[in-house]
Amino acid sequence: MRNRILLERRPVVAKLLADRGKLLVVSGLGAPTYDCAAVGDHPLNFCLWGAMGSAAVIGLGLATAQPERPVLVITGDGEMLMGLGALATVAVRKPANLAIVVLDNERYGETGNQPTHTADAVDLAGVATSVGFANSFRVEDEASLASLLPLLRAGKGPVFAAIKVSDKADPMVLPPRDGTYLKHRFRETLLGPAALK
């Protein structure tokens, strides 16, 4: 399983966020939040530092409120496993503008690289298919990543992708961690100054 050449998470996230246009981003706690910060802090990134298991449903609420904007959730396998039911909830609601990408390194990277369930038989793309995602992908190489990218913002979702990545730890790049600031910054940028009144 782990003896092949794996994608590296930071270049993958750089591709996910390239030419982001009107994209709204929610990142799950831990490495996905640092990965998004490494690409560059952005006011329309809502980067989580906690509330494990909540990234996908935050994306669902946001995608529902902003149906004309593409919404991308970037999270980790441990975070997704804590909120697996959210995949079923998203699949039932079918928001066309929502994509959920799991950077699956098969490890709890923040806590000592313990194996997650995906290091065993649990296949998150298979779970997404089973709960009703018509577009669910398991990505393991550059070619399948390249074919995934245009689907993430095409508005024909929901889309789910588990991207298998190396468990190498990258340098920490920290976005702001004041949640109230992140919330206000996101809303002011998206909705205008009236959102703060």
């Binding site: 509330a51 996908a56 449903v57 946001l62 959210a86 909830t89």
Partner: protein, 179 residues
């Protein structure tokens, strides 16, 4: 004529411009759930677990919409870590909770969480509005929505079991509620 308090809650949510309502079903909320699904101004979302409703409401707010979560008191315990989102980020939040384990409960398994519900909310930083009188339900939800969305605080309205009616086993020997 008896007060139609589920309809009053629906009116209060509409008047407060709530656009997303999520829920894990409870018998006490069944009429309100139907009203929300039938309302073209509201997107109603059924959840697998109540904690999903916290993130959903925060995402809605980020996108410029107001949301509310409907749940039974047993679901409050499922939300605890997700409540940290509300406090850390200062999100407004509104939940309407049907109480079990409180007034004449017949099912002992409902009692521990029902008895801990108000204290759990208080520990998580919520303003808690209990209501036991049908005529006060609508005004209480309206005031709770104003407090939540205008003052950016989490607010829980607890609909007492005395109001909802204490459940009993029906002829088939089954509860008609969540379980």
């Amino acid at each position: 004529m008896a007060t139609d308090w589920p309809l009053d809650i629906h009116h209060a949510l509409r008047a407060a411009s709530v656009r997303q309502v999520s829920y894990v079903p409870d018998a006490g909320h069944s009429r309100l759930i139907t009203l929300c699904h039938d309302d073209p101004t509201i997107v109603a979302t059924v959840l697998t677990s109540e904690q999903e409703g916290i993130g959903l409401a925060c995402g809605a707010w980020l996108g410029g919409q107001r949301a509310a979560l409907l749940m039974q008191s047993s679901g409050v315990g499922n939300c605890v870590n997700a409540f940290s989102l509300l406090k850390t980020c200062g999100f407004p939040f509104l939940t309407v909770v049907t109480m079990r384990g409180q007034w004449g409960e017949f099912n002992p398994w409902q009692v521990p969480m029902g008895q801990a519900t108000a204290a759990t909310f208080a520990l998580a930083g919520f303003v808690v509005h209990p209501v036991d009188v049908a005529a006060e339900v609508g005004p209480t939800v309206a005031a709770a929505a104003k407090l939540a969305f205008d003052s950016s605080v989490p607010v829980a309205v607890l609909l007492g079991q005395r109001l909802i009616g204490t459940k009993a086993f029906n002829e088939a020997g089954k509860e008609s509620g969540k379980e």
